[in-house]
């Protein structure tokens, strides 16, 4: 075809050549499209199921739903802890174009404080992506309305509502109910250890104290789940299915709110505590520790200023004095020690000593003095309880010896946890030889035993221990565990009561010994020589009681205690235990008023008021009766 200088064009040959190449091209095109199609066949038909699964994995997220926390009622069905919707301003930073500008704008609109902004930034740094971060919580209705009107200017910012705990009676029940607060790292670690992590996946708050903490498991409930469709930004488009959460159980307490309020009022702002229980069940009817504080402060995160104020207050409001306060029980334990002396045969009802106001041991120089300088004269065990004679008990302690005292008082629960359904409990201290060796590496001296006879020395007890011990005496050795919770609310609003919990009873040798001591306590309140007569002799019911005045300050051997000369925090603690009605007791009370002075004059009136209130609706109560120590106030009001 080709010539040396110029090829002569053969158009038909060229056309044929092109046509062949065009056909080859078309075949290649079809072959390559075949490759595309076969690849698509693999993707869309053969591997369809796998890709369908991955596609669903992209768009379907399973989100946990927090269960509603169980409510808490008092024994009469009054709501003590409820769930209220709380509105908070939340930001998803990834959905905001210019975070700083948005925050500036919100600062102008809502008056966001620098502290709130700082907290927000702090949370933001440690946060997972696309998780909302709270800028301000507990929005008022005005704030919600203010923001809602402007919401369209703020992408990624929203007002979210969730249920949050509220304690309508504030500080009245703090030490009983405790409170819930945000789950922190430590809580989370515990949940992980307990395998409860998944159950708390959507939960914000956890019980930190009191009943809220002790019954956390029942109150919390079981997490639910919802399947939602989300877009690539994680925003929920719609809900596909819901597996609803199981709400927590509603709890009914043994606590009687009205009685609790009366207990609070009876302390009249003094430091101290009142524990009221039913001797028949061990149920705790009231438990107030003063001073208290508002638990609602903690629910949404207490400010550091408020918290350090509570933490550093010399009045120590954070501790529950009823279960954590360790007080020398003082003379309140005299009926118990007297019982042990009688049961052991160390003394008889007729055993008497002659009290001159001074007690000495043979060959010991130290003199133990009675609170009554000149002594009570000739006293037996009943008089010793009634008049709170110290010398008789110095002698009884000497006769019993520390081992027997320690052993028998442990049986009454001293130095042991009562088992009350609160984690905030102290076992206080019942001293013994072993304890002193372990604690001080010192032997027990006979001189240590003598003040134990009047509930002093190393002996400390919590008011709930004291109350439990008196209940044991009332019940002739039957021992109940103090229970704050009565049971759980059933579906029909009935109370499904928790079974009563008991400790091993104390063996009774002679029932009449127990009756004798109870009778002595009756005399304390109603005999004209009883130490509690001024508070109880005019009561419209018969009762038992025992005063105690705990010395916190050692007076030198040759001096006497003068209240006005001792700084307030070292003044005597006033204590009183009481129960009523004397036959078939329904209520028993332990009162401590810190640094108030003598028990019979400062704690007994508190016990009387509380018991009077307990019987407020009984026939025998005179509706016009006003306790003497309140008369002045009533007039004043």
């Amino acid at each position: 075809m080709a010539r040396k200088r110029q090829a002569i064009r053969d158009h038909s040959a060229e056309a044929n050549l092109f046509a062949r190449r065009a056909v080859v091209s078309l075949l290649i095109v079809i072959a390559m499209l075949g490759i595309v199609v076969s690849n698509l066949y693999v993707l869309q038909v053969e591997k369809h199921d796998a890709y369908q699964t991955r596609s669903n994995g992209n768009r379907i997220k399973v989100l946990p739903i927090a269960p509603n926390r169980g409510l808490i009622y008092d024994r009469n069905g009054i709501l003590l802890a409820e769930n209220r919707p709380v509105f908070s301003l939340e930001i998803i930073p990834e959905e905001v174009d210019d975070l700083e500008a948005t925050l500036d704008s919100l600062t102008t609109l809502m008056g966001i404080t620098p502290e709130e902004r700082e907290n927000f930034q702090k949370t933001y740094r440690g946060q997972r992506r696309f998780k909302p971060i709270t800028l301000r919580t507990q929005l008022s209705e005005q704030e919600v309305a203010l923001f809602s009107a402007q919401q369209h200017h703020y992408d990624g910012v929203s007002v979210e509502a969730r249920l949050s705990r509220y304690y309508p009676y504030g500080e009245t029940l703090t030490h009983v109910l405790g409170y819930v607060a945000k789950i922190n790292k430590k809580d989370l670690q515990k949940l992980v250890e307990a395998g409860q992590e998944a159950n708390y996946a959507a939960t914000y708050d956890i019980g930190k104290l009191g009943v809220e903490k002790y019954h956390e498991e029942e109150l919390h409930g079981q997490v639910g789940y919802q399947q939602v469709e989300v877009n690539s930004q994680g925003r929920i488009i719609r809900t596909l299915s819901i597996d609803p959460p199981v709400p927590g159980k509603d709890i009914v307490l043994n606590i009687d709110l009205a009685l609790q309020l009366a207990a609070k009022k009876s302390l009249n702002g003094q430091r101290g505590t009142v524990v009221v229980s039913s001797p028949q069940t061990g149920g705790v009817l009231a438990m107030y520790s003063s001073p208290s504080y508002d638990p609602n402060l903690f629910v949404h995160g207490i400010s550091s200023k408020n918290y350090s104020a509570l933490l550093n207050s010399p009045d120590r409001p954070l501790i529950n004095r009823a279960t954590q306060g360790q007080y020398p029980p003082a003379s309140t334990i005299k009926p118990l020690l007297g019982l042990v002396g009688l049961e052991d045969g160390v003394i008889t009802p007729k055993t008497t000593i002659n009290d001159t106001g001074r007690y000495r041991l043979p060959n010991v120089k130290h003199v133990w003095r009675d609170w009554k300088k000149w002594g009570h004269g000739k006293v037996n065990v009943v008089r010793a309880v009634m008049q709170s004679c110290d010398t008789f008990y110095y002698d009884l302690a000497y006769k019993l010896g520390i081992d027997r005292i320690s052993e028998s008082m442990s049986e009454f629960g001293f130095g042991e946890y009562t088992g009350v359904d609160l984690y905030e409990e102290s076992d206080a201290n019942m001293p013994s030889r072993g304890w002193k060796r372990a604690r001080f590496n010192q032997p027990w001296y006979i001189g240590d035993t003598i003040p134990v006879g009047i509930g002093q020395s190393y002996w400390t007890a919590t008011p709930i221990q004291l109350n439990q011990a008196i209940n044991t005496l009332i019940n002739h050795g039957e021992r109940y565990v103090p229970q704050i919770i009565m049971g759980f609310m059933g579906d029909q609003g009935e109370v499904i009561e928790e079974p009563l919990k008991t400790w091993r009873p104390i063996a009774v040798k002679e029932k009449k010994n127990w009756d004798l001591m109870l009778d002595a306590m009756h005399k304390v309140n109603h005999d004209e020589e009883g130490t509690g007569r001024r508070s109880f002799s005019d009561a419209p019911y018969q009762s038992g009681g025992k005063s105690g005045t705990a010395q916190l300050f050692s007076v030198a051997q040759n001096e006497s205690y003068k209240e006005e000369e001792v700084s307030e925090h070292l003044r005597d603690n006033a204590m009183y235990v009481a129960f009523a009605p004397f036959e078939q007791p329904e209520v028993s009370v332990a009162v401590v008023v810190e640094n108030a002075g003598g028990g019979s004059s400062n704690a007994a009136p508190v016990a009387r008021q509380v018991i009077d209130f307990f019987f407020r609706e009984r026939d025998f109560m005179d509706p016009d009766y006003v306790p003497p120590e309140q008369q002045g106030q009533e007039v004043g009001q």
């Binding site: 075809m1 080709a2 090829a7 002569i8 064009r9 053969d10 158009h11 040959a13 060229e14 056309a15 050549l17 092109f18 046509a19 190449r21 065009a22 091209s25 078309l26 095109v29 079809i30 390559m32 499209l33 490759i35 595309v36 199609v37 690849n39 698509l40 066949y41 993707l43 869309q44 038909v45 591997k47 369809h48 796998a50 890709y51 369908q52 991955r54 596609s55 669903n56 992209n58 768009r59 469709e229 989300v230 877009n231 690539s232 930004q233 488009i237």
Partner: protein, 371 residues
């Protein structure tokens, strides 16, 4: 005789305005499918729909204008267009605007312009002009010069860097040479040479981001949230579409925005998810129809220049389709090539339609040519 007369009368209107009816039908059907798909892929964004509609209108206008120009005029223009394009490519490299991390634009004060788009047509025109000066099949020397004409702009565009366009331009030139009848022996030799050239390209010519695309292509699951994310989400979209698809506007991968660039380069994944393999086969049938019609026009063209240019334009159109579908479905590395007339985007669509305009000019303006 009478029948022929009748047929000529029937086609008078379209012929008079130099429009190829079959090609027009194919393109219109494709555009309608494209608009439907874009409506879904853009998340029912009417603003985008309007802009795409406007562009399609402009592109149709350009096609119409281009169809009026006699093929001989294109032939005469070939060298000027090529030289002007080459100069502008150099100008872009020297002082072009940077857009999306690549220098592609030339700012001519009154309009911003991508010289590489001009080259998409200028390169096949130039190669066709050069090869058709001689008798077919071309000799070794002519093939060598033809390749040189292709490689220079290809490298200049690859330098911008724009791998997709350089690939399209290289293929358009090579198709012209292939269709001219380059011997199969030589084809084998060149293929071997290209194989040897690959490592040089990898080490000296490709940018890091281009290399990453290739490694990601080889193993997308190695970085599922980073560079592999596009292709994994795209494959999930296609695969979950199955045989019949999830239905129009029902594709979860696209509607819930898991699929990136869903209305531009990855729109095929949206189509596959919502219409399934059945829909894809229908779409491919439309493309194949256009390609066959293009090849028929090329085959019927009366001079070598027209044949080579028409064939090259048609096969380059196929390269768009193949590369786009290949990259979206994981057959090929991700290079920026749109799905022709379906993807959202302006310049490449206008160039494509200009090419179809030339194709129609070739197909309808035969009578001025003597055999």
């Amino acid at each position: 005789m009478k029948r022929t007369q009748l047929k000529q009368n029937q086609s008078t209107l379209l012929e008079r305005i130099h429009i190829d009816g079959w090609l027009l039908i194919g393109l219109l059907v494709l555009m309608v499918v494209g608009l439907y798909t874009l409506y879904s892929a853009s998340g029912q964004d009417m603003g985008q729909m309007e802009r795409q509609f406007t562009r399609l209108g402009i592109a149709m206008g350009v096609m119409f204008v281009m169809a009026q120009v006699p093929p001989m005029a294109y032939r005469r223009l070939s060298t000027y267009a090529y030289i002007a394009g080459l100069l502008m490519l150099i100008a872009v490299l020297l002082f072009g605007d940077v857009g999306k991390g690549a220098q592609r634009w030339l700012d001519l004060k009154f309009v911003r312009f991508q010289p590489s788009e001009l080259m998409k047509l200028a390169v096949p025109m130039m190669v066709a002009w050069y090869i058709s000066k001689f008798t077919l099949p071309p000799k070794l020397m002519q093939i060598g010069i033809g390749f040189a004409l292709v490689i220079v702009p290809t490298i200049l565009i690859a330098k911008q860097p724009d791998l997709g366009t350089s690939l399209l331009i290289a293929s358009s030139g090579i198709f012209a040479i292939f269709l001219a009848g380059m011997s199969w022996k030589l084809i084998g030799f060149v293929a071997a040479l290209a194989g040897g050239f690959t490592p040089i390209m990898w080490f000296f010519l490709m940018q890091d981001y281009q290399k990453q695309r290739v490694t990601t292509f080889l193993n997308p699951e190695s970085d599922p949230l980073g560079s592999g994310y596009h292709i994994i989400q795209s494959q999930i979209a296609i695969g979950s579409g199955g045989l019949e698809g999830k239905g129009w506007l029902q594709g979860t991968q696209s509607q819930l925005e898991f699929l990136p660039e869903r209305h531009t380069d990855f729109i095929f994944a949206v189509f596959s998810e919502e219409f399934g393999l059945v829909g894809v086969l229908a779409l491919l049938a439309i493309y194949l129809f256009i390609i066959i019609r293009g090849l028929i026009i090329a085959n019927r063209a009366q001079d070598a220049y027209s044949k080579l240019l028409a064939g090259s334009i048609t096969l380059t159109f196929f390269v768009y389709v193949f590369v786009n579908m290949g990259m979206v479905s994981g057959l090929l590395p991700v290079v920026g090539v749109p799905l022709p007339l379906v993807s959202f985007g302006g310049t490449s669509m206008v160039t494509l339609m200009a090419g179809f305009g030339i194709l129609m000019a070739i197909g309808t303006q035969k009578r001025f040519l003597s055999r």
